[in-house]
């Protein structure tokens, strides 16, 4: 397959896509774990003043009855008022759309936002739900047997790897 795009470059491109549309009132919510890394970077780069939110969507996943409780043990933290807010959900990779479905359900348990958008570094195809990213600098076409993972090095830099499942 083609060479993987550099995650740092995609972060920069994503920030530029978002920049014309964010205001000081825009709130970011990163999805654990990769989405939080990207959201942290965007939050600094776009100089947003609202505190950064994070979500662990494992309580809302649709595969609980098949696979049990999955995912990390970090709590969700939404340190701003969701009601009437402009919120951008941030994740590293958009795939089936099921994580975003879970994230939307979770977000609405905190209140009724005015507008919700989605920012991802890469869209790898394979959607199973009618969900699309608002901001996405890179589309890829990966086989269902491959998994696109974002990893964080010790120096804080982000890198994509493809793993054969």
């Amino acid at each position: 397959m083609a060479k993987l795009p550099a995650a740092s470059e995609l972060c920069r491109q994503l920030a530029e896509l978002m920049r014309p549309h964010v205001t000081p009132a825009t709130c970011l919510v990163g999805i654990h774990t990769g989405g939080v890394w990207v959201a942290e970077w965007l939050h600094r780069e776009l100089e947003l003043t609202q505190p950064l939110g994070t979500m662990n969507v494992s309580f809302y996943r649709d595969d609980y009855s098949q696979r049990g409780l999955q995912g990390g043990r970090k709590p969700s933290a939404i340190p701003f008022d969701v009601a009437d807010a402009h919120i951008v959900i941030v994740d590293d990779v958009l795939y089936t759309g099921r994580t975003i479905r879970a994230a939307l359900n979770e977000l609405f348990d905190y209140g009724r936002p005015a507008r919700v958008e989605l920012a991802v570094l890469a869209d790898r195809g394979g959607r199973e739900l009618p969900i699309a990213a608002t901001y996405c600098p890179q589309a890829l076409s990966l086989a269902p047997t491959q998994s696109l993972n974002l990893e964080k090095a010790e120096d804080g830099s982000l890198e994509f790897t493809v793993v054969e499942k």
Binding site: N56, S58, F59, Y60, Y64, S65, Q66, R67, G68, L69, R73, K74, P75, S76, A77, I78, V82, N105, E106, F108, D109, Y110, G111
Partner: protein, 320 residues
């Protein structure tokens, strides 16, 4: 059925019957899973959809409004349907056996049984019966059986200690009071030793200690002042008047004098020691109000953490 009926063949938690014999990794996983559930209570919608469509039956063969309520809240915050049965007031008085009751409720599509029973081993018996009759998809949680175990209380106590003290392997913990009648004490001792607490002390008059309690890996003190010296955590037990047969104690006043936690006795513990109590408290019997309401008490946080720990246990059992 394998040797530890709480675990399936992959070593995953199947039922929660007792902390005894539970591997350290499982206890740690329960505590880790509980952490994100503490945050759910702060949301506008204090509910997550994990157990939507599942039925949790609270089978209370022994009354306990408080424990039943905490399980009920935990199950409802997981979106389960909760059915409360106080069985001492219903079928068994008509002569139905424990297992007949379980069979009938299984036929009502139960997913989780939360069982409180005055006889030690009743939840275990139910789990065995479910396995023997091909219904091992139904989970059992022990909410207190006789003098045997009260695992969720033990786990929420561990969560509380970890929250305030972080590292179990540097702690000295004292359990004070009616150890003899206390299933809570047994669960606490098993949990503390499994998690690597180097020194667990029990402080009680000889009449309220089980024989050979030392074999559980604890140091025994009959003098409370001596036992409290330098401890990081003081875990008080409730004096279980309802479980006492005959005269084990002279009087509540006498008990308070020697084994009641007062500010001057607490001063012998480390200055940052925390004070815990499983509730309900007998003020002026095992604990002085000045301590119960004081800055070192973490008794109300215990109650709050108890919901998250019970949510964690149910969500670990209720999935695939």
């Amino acid at each position: 059925m394998n040797s530890n009926p709480q675990l399936n063949k992959h070593g995953e938690l199947q039922h929660l019957l007792t902390i005894e014999g539970l591997p350290r990794e499982i206890i740690a996983a329960i505590l880790d899973t509980a952490a994100p559930f503490t945050e759910v209570a702060e949301r506008e919608v204090k509910k997550v959809p994990l157990l939507r469509g599942k039925s949790v039956f609270n089978l209370f063969f022994e009354n306990s409004t408080r424990t039943r309520t905490t399980f009920e809240i935990a199950a409802k915050r997981l979106s389960a349907d909760v059915i409360n049965l106080n069985i001492n007031t219903s079928s068994t008085t008509k002569g139905e056996t424990l297992l007949d009751t379980v069979d009938n409720l299984s036929a009502l599509q139960a997913d989780i049984f939360v069982v409180r029973h005055a006889s030690s081993g009743a939840p275990h018996l139910i789990a065995q019966h479910l396995a023997a009759t091909g219904r091992d998809h139904i989970r059992v949680i022990n909410a207190g059986d006789g003098r045997h175990a009260h695992p969720t209380q033990g786990l929420l106590d561990m969560y509380t200690i970890r929250h305030y003290k972080k590292d179990f392997t540097r702690l000295t913990v004292a359990i004070v009071g009616d150890v003899l009648h206390s299933r809570v004490a047994r669960s606490q001792i098993h949990a503390l030793t499994t998690l690597g607490v180097p020194e667990v002390r029990v402080i009680a008059p000889k009449t309220l200690l089980p024989t050979q309690v030392e074999q559980m890996g604890v140091r025994v003190f009959n003098d409370m002042r001596e036992g409290l010296r330098g401890v990081d955590v003081v875990m008080m037990l409730r004096l279980q008047n309802e479980r006492m047969n005959g005269a084990l104690l002279p009087s509540p006043q006498e008990y308070f004098k020697y084994y009641g936690l007062t500010p001057d006795k607490l001063d012998l513990a480390k200055p940052d020691a925390i004070v815990m109590h499983p509730g309900p408290m007998n003020r002026g019997v095992e604990i002085d109000s000045a301590v119960a309401d004081g800055r070192q008490a973490v008794i109300l946080p215990q109650v709050t953490f108890g919901i998250a720990v019970r949510m964690a246990v149910m969500s670990m059992l209720g999935g695939a």
